[in-house]
């Protein structure tokens, strides 16, 4: 049966660009209403933990339809969406992955909140977490610099709140202030750059700009792009701009740290390369590649010098971000497929590692007590599954075979290894050895039994569950890695 013509037109209109924005705004509004309702309904007669659980359900209820809709878009032929938020296949796949993993973050936030004695603003916490994820998604699917700027500002505000969520702590306030200051500078750079680009070309859409950049790129446009890319690099703390993220991220709680370290950084790498490839017609690609490559070196050197848990995690995530950027050195369907798989595997392993770090807290329910790496030495005598889990994930994230991260790294390096990239690959391998050294150093600390200075109040079941899940995942991945990569590459190529 054929639909009436006006309905047909309406559907086509929705599909051709209206739906993504409308959908996102709608889900945001619905989510806000649901949260508001829950806040007032449950606040009077439930505990904070129950409220957290209920909010957790509602966050899932929001994210699952979003996930489903992305899935549908991917199969419907996403190339048709090319309006202000151009849903290209690559960004859509990335956004899909992001929402999928966001579900874990939201669940993890519940564990975090329910185990903490700290007074949290539960409602705002969930709201901001989910809005942050949506802002990140909007950034990913932007195909216009103005949209990108607006989404980025939304994201910045959310992150400012999330970092500053423990308002009574001085360190947190300092972290939030630093973030706010640097973020403002970054935005100023972006606007400044966009001004030059608009002055030179009269356009803000990626497609038009890409065409103009390849045809006739003048100095103004080049300066504009320079500032835009610099602002994004500052925002993500790449290369020499890492100076601010240490303090800013250290002040954040563990779920926020996971959010910033594992999801935001790769997303920004993706956005930077999207702008460079789709928006700038390949201008500045070489310097940015080298800049991100230097991030891997800075990350691994920094990690080897750290004695604080959070700083160590921040530096290692920088190293992995540098590694991740290598997938864009030869941007084609194969590499993008590899990027999606790498991001999935890395984020899953890192998230589990950070979750275990985050779950270390003392019996008195005061706060996290594991701040120094040397404190880990009293974990093993008290909690074997937790210590074993930490060792497992440390080895896994370090990229040691036969763990899953090794295979994706191997895939990347073997594919880009040729006469021109050989020096970079060799340096990256050297970085891998240093990274392995850092991780083994922590394992060594874990096995150095020392008298407990605190008590781990932590259910064995959670650590054992995470460990069992990841063991099965790693074993299965061992046998399906090749097929999975091929499948993902074919999928990206088809899209």
């Amino acid at each position: 049966m054929r639909l009436p013509k006006f309905l047909d037109n309406l559907i086509m209109h929705i599909i051709q660009g209206l739906l993504p924005e409308v959908f996102l705004v709608f889900v945001l509004m619905i989510f806000f209403c649901v949260l508001l309702f829950l806040r007032f309904y449950y606040k009077s007669n439930t505990t904070e933990v129950q409220l957290a659980l209920n909010l957790n359900y509602s966050a899932w209820a929001l994210l699952l339809p979003l996930l489903l809709s992305y899935w549908i878009f991917i199969y419907m032929g996403p190339a048709v969406f090319d309006m202000s938020y151009g849903i290209h296949s690559d960004s859509l796949i990335y956004a899909f992955r992001l929402v999928l993993t966001a579900l874990f973050i939201v669940y993890w936030a519940y564990i975090y909140l329910s185990n903490s004695s700290h007074v949290f603003y539960t409602f705002e916490y969930y709201f901001m977490l989910v809005v942050g994820l949506l802002a990140l998604n909007l950034m990913l699917i932007s195909s216009n610099f103005l949209n990108l700027l607006l989404s980025m500002e939304l994201y910045s505000m959310v992150v400012y709140y999330l970092i500053h969520e423990k308002r009574t702590r001085g360190r947190t306030t300092e972290a939030a202030f630093k973030y706010f200051t640097v973020s403002s500078y970054s935005t100023a750079f972006f606007v400044f750059g966009l001004f030059f680009v608009y002055l030179s070309s009269g356009a803000t859409e990626f497609k038009a700009l890409s065409f103009l950049a390849t045809q006739n790129a003048d100095k103004l446009m080049l300066i504009g792009y320079f500032f835009i890319v610099a602002s994004l690099l500052i925002k993500v703390g790449a290369g020499v701009f890492f100076f601010w993220i240490l303090d800013a991220y250290e002040g954040a709680s563990f779920p926020v740290l996971i959010f910033l370290n594992i999801f935001v950084k790769p997303a920004f790498v993706f956005i930077i390369f999207k702008i460079l490839l789709l928006g700038c017609g390949g201008l500045l690609l070489g310097p940015v590649k080298l800049f991100l490559f230097s991030t891997a070196i800075i990350g691994v050197v920094g990690a080897s010098l750290q004695s604080k848990v959070k700083r160590f995690l921040i530096f290692t995530s920088m190293y992995n971000m540098g590694f991740l950027s290598f997938f864009f050195w030869e941007p084609n369907g194969f590499m993008l497929g590899g990027f999606v798989v790498f991001f999935g595997v890395y984020s899953l392993n890192s998230m589990c590692l950070m979750m275990l770090f985050g779950l270390l807290r003392d019996a008195s329910k005061s706060d996290f007590v594991i701040t120094d790496l040397k404190d880990l030495s009293c974990v093993l005598p008290q909690h074997f599954p937790l210590a074993f889990g930490l060792v497992f994930f440390l080895l896994s994230v370090s990229g040691l075979p036969p763990f899953s991260v090794f295979f994706v790294k191997y895939f990347l390096l073997v594919k880009i290894f040729n006469a021109f990239t050989a020096p970079y690959v060799l340096i990256l391998l050297l970085c891998s050895v240093i990274a392995l050294f850092c991780y083994i150093r922590i394992i060594r600390i874990i096995f150095e039994f020392s008298r407990p200075t605190f008590f781990v109040r932590f259910k064995s079941g959670v650590a054992a569950g995470i460990l069992a899940f990841m063991t099965v995942f790693n074993i299965v991945f061992l046998f399906v890695a090749e097929d999975l990569l091929k499948m993902m590459q074919l999928f990206v190529l088809e899209c």
């Binding site: 075979p401 036969p402 191997y410 390096l413 073997v414 290894f417 891998s432 392995l436 060594r444 090749e482």
Partner: protein, 473 residues
């Protein structure tokens, strides 16, 4: 179902045994299964048709996973693995460890090692080679004897990791040049020397040298041996060191023969240094395990010299010494474990006069001391003789230096024996007892293999010859 699949099923069933509720049954069934594989390996070697000696059981994938084969080169190592596994499982019964954890770690190690030896896919070999680190890491950490085990584990992991990164570079170059990671693709590599091929050769050699180990890359080995439990030392000396030389054998011959010839003198120099250095250091050690560990470094240096002589007899000698050293060094570590179980010390100065209270043990230790120095009618003698003939035929000077080097093992081995078994009884030693039944029978097994190799080496060499011809082709 081919031979490899049968072996694989048996090894996986071995791992599954840890879920049995009765630990005694686990031990007995485990022993039985490894004996079946041992017999299977020997049967495979004897019955294989000489015209199709290189039987490949490739999986259909060549990039990530798969491609295992059981040929005669790997079958003998399979047999050695099974024999040493049988010894280790038999030793479990006497220990008071948490046996479930112990079995699970050991059976996993056994599974990984078997697959390492039968792998003809470089990536698979590399992954399994690295994977064997993890059970060894657990063995040393959980059942190591002293607090210094952490340092030992750290060194073990770190050195091997550096070696493995070099292997990874070699793997990248191999893939870039041949488009595959199967060793059969080595024929696609350009037949002339380029920078990348030289880099690949260097990475292969140094990467495997970490594992062999060749001095000065050896410092992890004595530490690991000293801190590992007896079972760990047996596996380390008997099998894990052999992965290095076996890897050289598999991946550097014959594909890189051009460079093997070119760098022959470099390899000789490195190995001769290793041989002398390790022997001289062994002389001044006080820890019994360290003496044996350094003697292993010296012997493995000899094996590498034999391989890189690129002669028929040198090759056969190397292969034979690998197997022989696997038996002799493991036996010595087993015997040191016996001493440590009784007197809780490995320091030479604490011992003396044991011949009067442990006569059977003294005789057995003496047999292995002779085997370690390469005495005629022991298996080490045959291997070393073949290697020396091979080396002399290619480089007389190195041959003469190597001949001088064989003076050193008797110095430290006989000194060790003299200190432990003669003289006055050690003052701190109490509760003397000679070997128990299990230990005696296990020692008898070790002795029979050592003597068999010394008296009738043709049993092995006859089959290795064919492989060598194939490699040259």
């Amino acid at each position: 179902m081919n031979f490899f699949e049968i072996m694989e099923i048996i090894f996986i069933s071995n791992v599954a045994l840890i879920f049995l509720p009765f630990q005694k049954l686990t031990r007995k069934l485990g022993s039985l299964l490894v004996l079946i594989v041992l017999i299977g390996c020997l049967f495979f070697v004897l019955r294989t048709d000489p015209d199709s000696i290189f039987i490949l059981d490739y999986a259909d994938k060549n990039f990530f996973w798969g491609a295992f084969t059981v040929d005669r080169l790997s079958a003998f190592f399979g047999a050695l693995l099974c024999f040493l596994s049988f010894v280790c499982i038999s030793l479990f019964g006497a220990k008071s460890y948490n046996q479930l954890t112990y079995y699970s770690v050991f059976f996993c190690l056994e599974l990984f090692l078997f697959h390492t030896f039968v792998s003809v896919n470089m990536l698979t070999f590399y992954v399994l080679f690295e994977t064997t680190l993890i059970p060894m890491f657990v063995l040393i950490l959980l059942w190591g004897s002293r607090q210094r085990k952490l340092h030992a584990m750290y060194m073990f992991f770190f050195y091997t990791a550096i070696g493995s990164v070099l292997l990874l570079v070699a793997l990248f170059v191999f893939y870039a040049m041949s488009g595959s990671v199967l060793i059969t693709a080595s024929t696609h590599i350009e037949p002339y020397i380029t920078f990348f091929i030289t880099l690949m050769w260097f990475c292969f050699f140094v990467g495997f040298s970490f594992k062999v180990p060749v001095a000065p890359l050896h410092t992890w080995l004595p530490e690991a041996h000293v801190e590992a439990p007896t079972v760990g030392s047996i596996v380390l000396a008997g099998l894990l060191l052999k992965i290095g030389t076996f890897g050289m054998l598999r991946f550097m011959f014959p594909g890189l023969n051009l460079l093997n010839f070119r760098f022959q003198d470099f390899v000789y120099a490195a190995c001769v240094f290793s041989l002398f250095y390790a022997s001289l250091v062994a002389i001044r050690q006080l820890d019994i395990k360290k003496i044996i560990a350094y003697s292993s470094v010296a012997h493995m240096g000899f094996v590498v010299i034999g391989l890189f002589s690129i002669t028929f007899i040198g090759f056969v000698g190397s292969y034979f010494t690998m197997l022989s050293h696997g038996v002799v060094a493991s036996a010595l570590f087993f015997l040191v474990g016996v001493l440590y179980e009784r007197y809780k010390s490995r320091i030479l100065l604490n011992y003396g006069g044991l011949v009067s209270v442990m006569p059977v043990f003294a005789i057995i230790f003496f047999v292995f001391t002779l085997a370690n120095i390469g005495f005629p009618f022991t298996s080490n003698f045959v291997g070393e003789l073949f290697i020396l003939i091979g080396v002399v035929s290619t480089n007389l000077l190195i041959g003469i230096i190597c001949l001088f080097s064989i003076v050193l093992p008797p110095v430290y081995s006989l000194w060790l024996f003299n200190r432990v078994f003669f003289g006055g009884l050690g003052s701190g030693l109490t509760g003397f007892s000679d070997l128990n039944t299990t230990e005696f029978y296990l020692s008898a097994l070790f002795i029979s293999l050592t003597l068999l190799g010394g008296i009738a080496p043709k049993i092995i060499t006859a089959y290795v010859e064919l492989e060598y011809i194939k490699l040259l082709v």
